[in-house]
Structure formats: structure tokens, C-alpha cells
């Protein structure tokens, strides 16, 4: 089993924490993990992306090849579309619907949603609303983890372990909020699978 994933977002959205959770989860079930991050200038309100690969067999490159990603998981709708060239033909796009507008020429949001939905496997999730329900707007990244989890090829237990490992050192209340966010995201994603 091998999974190629592109994580997308804007600096400050908690993308690297999201990558850390999935990485910890994959490692906890004994898989080989490779994850590439972008640091430095790109963090200043700019585009942030992470390539994440894990497999039961040996893997070599941390970079995902274009045309091979099983999932583009995005914390921002326009950013999801930026990585379409990475998708495998059967690959899924799961994206937050809340736009992060720090540029003057942000495209029409409905057009973005239509374009995302045109993909065979697409799920659009209102992450901030669900994160607030879970108890903290900052947990939107964990909502998206839940929403994307059906495409991660890992069972829930491993991902929950990943959340606990990545947030180790935080209070139990913070961990519980993130776990609730994960479950709300997963439930919303499953509802969309039934009634897209």
C-alpha cells in the first residue's frame, strides 16, 4: 500500500500540524513516512504546501509526482485547485470552503466550488463552522483531517493516536477539542459521500 497526498493552504492555517498528525499516525502503524515542507519566505501569508507519502513498502522520494496523488487535502478552496496537476485520475479533492482573501484578485468563490465539484471525488466542507462547534476555530485543520480521512487508507484509531501524539504536551481539553473536530469533519464528509 502506498499513499501520495498533497496538503495545501495558506501560512498560519495549521497545515504543518495537520501533516504531523498524519505522519505520526502512519508511523504508529509501522509504515514508512516521507513528508516535505515549505519553510521561509513562503510562510508570510503566501502559499504553503506539504507533500506527504507513506507506504508499507520502501519509498524514496518525499516529493509527490504530478498525476499520482490519491488526495489533495486543502485548508483553502482556491489553494485546492492549485494542486490539480498532482491528482491521479481517481484522486480525491477535499477542501475547506472558507476562502482566505489576502490578495486583491481573489477569484469568484462559486466558480471555485463548481470547479472542485467537477472532479469525480470531491468534498467541500465548512470547516470553521464545524471547528466552532467542536470548541475552537483553530481546530479547523483537524476538521479537515476528519473530512479527508476516508481517503487516507488508515483506520480511525491510528489517526486519533496521531492527534494525541502531535498535540502531546497540550492540555487534555485542547486534545479533546481537536478529537471532536476530527469526528465532526469525518461525519460531514461521510454525509457528503451519501448525498453529494
Amino acid at each position: 500500500m502506498i499513499r501520495n497526498i498533497i496538503l495545501a493552504g495558506v501560512g498560519g492555517q495549521g497545515l504543518l500540524a495537520l501533516a504531523a498528525v498524519i505522519g505520526e499516525a502512519a508511523m504508529s502503524v509501522g509504515m514508512n513516512v516521507l513528508q516535505a515542507e515549505v519553510h521561509g519566505m513562503a510562510q508570510r501569508g503566501g502559499v504553503v504546501q506539504s507533500h506527504l507519502r507513506y507506504a508499507t513498502e520502501p519509498i524514496h522520494s518525499a516529493l509527490v509526482n504530478e498525476g499520482t496523488a490519491h488526495l489533495v487535502l486543502s485548508l483553502e478552496p482556491m489553494e485546492a485547485l492549485r494542486y490539480v496537476p498532482f491528482l491521479a485520475p481517481e484522486g480525491a479533492i477535499v477542501t475547506n470552503t472558507a476562502a482566505f482573501k489576502n490578495i486583491p484578485d481573489y477569484p469568484d468563490e462559486e466558480a471555485i466550488a463548481r470547479e472542485v465539484k467537477a472532479h469525480t471525488q470531491a468534498r467541500l466542507i465548512d470547516a470553521p463552522t464545524l471547528a466552532k462547534q467542536a470548541g475552537a476555530i483553530q481546530a479547523a485543520n483537524m476538521v479537515m483531517l476528519g473530512a479527508g480521512s476516508p481517503f487516507l487508507g488508515m483506520d480511525q484509531e491510528a489517526l486519533i493516536h496521531g492527534i494525541r501524539a502531535a498535540f502531546a504536551g497540550k492540555s487534555e481539553a485542547v486534545i479533546e477539542t481537536n478529537l471532536r473536530a476530527f469526528q465532526l469533519g469525518l461525519a460531514a464528509s461521510e454525509r457528503l459521500a451519501m448525498h453529494p
Binding site: 495558506v10 501533516a19 504531523a20 505522519g23 505520526e24 508511523m27 514508512n32 513516512v33 516521507l34 513528508q35 516535505a36 515542507e37 515549505v38 519553510h39 521561509g40 519566505m41 513562503a42 510562510q43 508570510r44 501569508g45 503566501g46 502559499v47 520502501p58 519509498i59 524514496h60 522520494s61 518525499a62 516529493l63 509526482n65 504530478e66 498525476g67 499520482t68 482556491m78 489553494e79 485547485l81 492549485r82 490539480v84 496537476p85 498532482f86 491528482l87 491521479a88 485520475p89 489576502n102 490578495i103 484578485d105 481573489y106 477569484p107 466558480a111 471555485i112 470547479e115
Partner: protein
């Protein structure tokens, strides 16, 4: 052995800790920063009282590491590739003095210039210094590299470079972590003259370094990071250095019909290369950065047999970092086509954060330049404020290297430019700007120097600035007339008065310093959060 998910940089830092590190010095710079950041937050390093600090610049970092090595301790200096230019004098000459305790010089190259002004390849410096170098191919090797490098360094009494590149530095992988060894005890060099590079002694040191080269070559041939995999099809031999080895494996798999040479230590393993060159009709090279090994293999005039293929022949692009796709294209291997890109996403360039103090300083500078009839120029430096080269600010006219703002403004002023304004951050000023200001003072240059003091090294994530909020005192100490050291607070509601101060100092026909002081918005937020948490806990 315990397994951890580590960045290449973190693996290297942990590897150094486990290999008996006694001290580490660095100036922050992408993609090298996390090595030292990891050591600074490591409870293990703190418990062992390992000396670790951000220094004023890369040269002072390397010199301090050399001094620590002089006492028999294992030391490390860390920098990005362009930082090695700053430390070059210490780098080249430390190969001549040699070391007492093991000395590692970590250099992180940034091919594709993700966060840099060039993509120079640090291996070229090996030629000047005749120093050995390890180039780990993955995070596990990054963890192992310090132990190998320290042993090599102490065996031959020579510093060892560890070269990494962005994708290794900033990628995580599962790493098996071993146990820590004892650290060295205090011991001074037995040969008291070894560290004195007076010409007569330096000539001896140079001869010794030359005599060492065959042994360093033998070490490289036998390096655990270098490996020859025989193949049945000798129409093509494949040579890959560092992370490029894994891109190659990603494409050709574990069982490749062509011979493969993985290079992970320098000087280049000549015997292994000869083995491939004498048995293959073509050789293709995969290396991050310059066509370094490729150029050596081609020789002059370029040899015709075997043909050497790589970045210089267009089989791989001359610039930019490699990827599995580039390797596949070079080998003619079929991989999935690139699906059509969406035309919807707009670019989202890096920008100054909302509320950034530099934004207010740049708006004031724009007003000053406009009032000068557009004649003035702003010589900028390396830091967040250089993002003001982009709209909506379009404030800065230059960005070359650390400290160049002040001295370029001085030269331009001598050429007749007015206003000649230099824009530099607090930590870039203490890194390489102070000497330039001294030149301005000594020559009474008509330069207006704006130091944007956000009290941190912001661009690399908020490390301690060596300026420590003492810029006024530093400028006074250098000889600046206190009447022309002005402090402003870059805030929107102080725009008018800040413009007035700048205009007064632009009108003054001599050197003046304006310190625009306000904490970085990111650091301020983090510090406020830390205070709240500390308050909550007490």
C-alpha cells in the same frame, strides 16, 4: 532502536547530540535554521549544558566552533550556503590549522532558491579548503553523519563539512535513533604552533594538508554513504549524489539493470568512478546544485568515451532542484503525464504581515522619495522588509547580500545620488552592517541609514537578534553624532512625524541613522501568548 519522525535538520541535530557534541553556533538562515533551533529547545542539550547560541554572523559562529574544538571538544557551526561566503575566511583557514576536538561545518544549500538570492553549490568550496565532506542522502544518514564526521575530523585533525540541500533539510522521515556517547574532556593541542598561520608555519600546514589528501580519498572510497551497485547493462552507468540518489531509486527501483554509484562523501571516490567509466559507454549524473562531479568527469577537452551526460549536456536542467520527474525524463522512463492545471488560482505572493512595522516605515520612505522628486533610491538588505520591493509598496531598489545596503548607499552617494537611503534590519545590521556604518562615519558620507528594529530575526521565524535593542548605543559607539541618531515608532498614526524626521535627516549633509523601532507582529503575538500562559499557570 526507537523510531522518530524527524526533519533532516532535526535528525542531524539529534545525531550531533548523540555523537558527543559539546557546542553549536549558528546564524539563522533557511534552510539551515532548524538544526540549531532543535538544539536550543532540546531538554537533553540543556541538561548536558551544551554551549549553543545564535551568533552575530556565520563567521563568528565558525570561529567560536573552531575555538571550542581547540579545547578538545566536539563543536559544530551551522549556516546556509550564502552564509559560507561570510564565513569563508574562517572556513578555508580552519582546514590549515586543523582541529583538536571534532569540528563539523553544516552548510545547507538551497537549489531553486526557495528562500535565497542564489543557488551556489557549497561543494565548490571544498576545492579551496581541501576539506572532506559528507552529503547525506536521507534523514537516517543525516542522523548518522555527525558521528562519522566527528570521527573523521578527529582522526585526521581536520574540519568536516556536512552538505545538505533544502529537500533533505525540510523533509521528515522515520529515523532510527541510537544512544548518546560520552562527550570529550578538555584537552589542548600538543603542537602549540599548529594554530599559528604565520607564513613560515602556514607553508608547513599547507604541505601537511596536501599530504593528507590521499588518506581523505581512501576514507571517501570506503564511506558508508558511498556505494557501488553493479548492473548487467553497461550501455549506461548512473551516478547520484546526496538526495538525488533517492529520486533515482524512485524511478529505477531497487533492482536497476545499469550500474549505480551513490556518492555521499568527498573528495570524489575516484577508484569507484574509474570502475564505472572504464566499463560503461555512457554515464549520467544526478546531483543537486552545480554539475560539480559532472564537470570533473568531463575534464577538458570533454572526453568522448564514455560520454558524460547531465546538467551540462541538457539531459537535466542546468538550474533548479531535481525531482523524480526530472530523473525520469532524463532516463526516458514513462511516468504519468501531468494533468492540466486549473487557470482559476491567482498567485499569492509572500507579503508583509498585516500590521507589520516595516509597512509603516516603507510608507514613510515612499513619501520621502516622492518629496525628493523621485530622485532618491532605497538600498535594501536581506530580511522581511525586502518584500517591500513588491506592490503595493515598491519601496526598495536593491537587495544583494547581508550588509550591502549601507555600503552601496555610500558608494552611490559618492557617485552623486541624493537622497541615498539604506534600509536594513536590526540583526542584519549587527551581522554585517556595523562595519559599513563605520566607513560612512569615517568618510562623512551623505547616507541616511534606516534601521528597522523589530527586535528579532523575523524572516527565519523569530530567533534572537544580536542587536538586543541596543542599536542607538552601538551607533554611538561607532562614532555617530548622537544628534543624528533618531528613533521613531513606525505606526500609522505617526506617519507625518516619521516622514518629517526622515526628511530632516535626508537634508543633513552627512551620515544619519533613523532607528524605526517596533516589535515584529508575529513575535509580539507569540510573546503575548506566552505571557498569558505563564500567567495562567502561576
Amino acid at each position: 532502536m526507537p523510531t522518530r519522525l524527524l526533519l533532516g535538520n532535526e535528525a542531524l541535530a539529534q545525531g550531533a547530540l548523540d555523537a558527543g557534541l559539546s557546542g553549536a553556533y549558528a546564524y539563522p538562515g533557511t534552510p539551515s535554521t532548524e538544526i540549531t533551533a532543535y538544539l536550543l529547545r532540546s531538554s537533553e542539550a540543556a541538561a548536558q549544558e551544551i554551549a549553543c547560541a545564535w551568533t552575530a554572523n556565520e563567521k563568528t559562529a565558525l570561529e567560536a566552533a573552531l575555538g571550542l574544538s581547540y579545547t578538545g571538544k566536539r563543536a559544530m557551526a551551522t549556516m546556509k550556503h550564502v552564509g559560507l561566503n561570510v564565513a569563508a575566511d574562517a572556513f578555508v583557514n580552519s582546514a590549515l590549522t586543523g582541529v583538536q576536538g571534532g569540528l563539523i561545518i553544516n552548510v545547507a544549500d538551497d537549489p531553486s532558491m526557495h528562500s535565497s538570492q542564489n543557488e551556489q553549490d557549497s561543494r565548490v568550496y571544498l576545492e579551496l579548503a581541501m576539506m572532506p565532506c559528507l552529503e547525506p542522502a536521507d534523514q537516517q544518514e543525516a542522523y548518522q553523519a555527525p558521528a562519522i564526521a566527528f570521527a573523521l575530523s578527529e582522526k585526521f585533525k581536520i574540519p568536516v563539512m556536512i552538505r545538505s540541500t533544502t529537500r533533505l533539510s525540510h523533509s521528515r522521515a522515520t529515523v532510527e535513533v541510537g544512544k548518546a556517547i560520552e562527550r570529550n574532556t578538555f584537552s589542548l593541542p600538543e603542537d602549540s604552533k599548529r594554530f599559528i598561520l604565520l607564513p613560515a608555519l602556514a607553508r608547513k600546514a599547507y604541505q601537511k594538508l596536501l599530504d593528507l589528501q590521499p588518506a581523505l580519498l581512501r576514507e571517501a572510497e570506503a564511506s558508508p554513504f558511498t556505494q557501488y551497485f553493479e548492473g548487467s547493462d553497461h550501455s549506461l552507468g548512473l551516478i547520484a549524489c546526496g538526495v538525488a540518489y533517492h529520486y533515482l531509486r524512485e524511478i529505477v527501483g531497487e533492482n536497476c539493470e545499469h550500474p549505480v554509484l551513490k556518492i555521499g562523501q568527498y573528495p570524489m571516490p575516484e577508484a569507484l568512478i574509474e570502475q564505472m567509466m572504464s566499463s560503461c559507454t555512457q554515464i549520467m549524473l544526478f546531483e543537486e546544485g552545480f554539475p560539480y562531479v559532472e564537470s570533473k568527469l568531463r575534464g577538458f577537452p570533454a572526453r568522448t568515451s564514455p560520454s558524460i551526460l547531465g546538467r551540462r549536456t541538457g539531459h537535466l536542467p542546468r538550474t533548479g532542484e531535481l525531482s523524480p520527474r526530472i530523473v525520469a525524463n532524463a532516463l526516458g522512463t514513462e511516468i504519468p503525464e501531468i494533468p492540466k492545471a486549473s487557470t482559476t488560482p491567482a498567485p499569492r505572493p509572500p507579503a508583509l504581515c498585516p500590521g507589520c512595522p516595516h509597512a509603516d516605515t516603507c510608507k514613510a520612505l515612499n513619501a520621502v522619495i516622492k518629496a525628493s522628486g523621485g530622485d532618491g533610491r532605497v538600498f535594501s538588505d536581506i530580511g522581511c522588509y525586502t518584500l517591500a520591493a513588491l506592490p503595493p509598496y515598491n519601496t526598495v531598489d536593491t537587495c544583494v547580500e547581508m550588509g550591502a545596503s549601507i555600503t552601496m548607499a555610500k558608494g552611490a552617494s559618492a557617485g552623486g545620488l541624493h537622497p541615498a537611503i539604506a534600509l536594513i534590519g536590526d540583526s542584519t545590521f549587527t551581522h554585517s552592517g556595523m562595519t559599513g556604518l563605520l566607513d560612512c562615519i569615517n568618510e562623512n558620507a551623505n547616507v541616511t541609514l534606516v534601521i528597522v528594529d523589530n527586535l528579532t530575526v523575523a524572516m527565519t521565524g523569530g530567533q534572537d537578534s544580536s542587536a538586543r535593542n541596543r542599536l542607538g548605543e552601538i551607533c554611538k559607539g561607532l562614532g555617530m553624532d548622537p544628534a543624528h541618531i533618531r528613533v521613531i515608532e513606525p505606526l500609522p498614526n505617526k506617519h507625518e512625524e516619521n516622514v518629517a524626521v526622515m526628511q530632516e535627516e535626508v537634508a543633513f549633509p552627512g551620515p544619519s541613522v533613523i532607528i524605526a523601532e517596533r516589535e515584529c507582529i508575529q513575535t509580539a503575538r507569540r510573546n503575548a501568548r506566552a505571557r498569558t500562559q505563564a500567567g495562567g499557570a502561576s
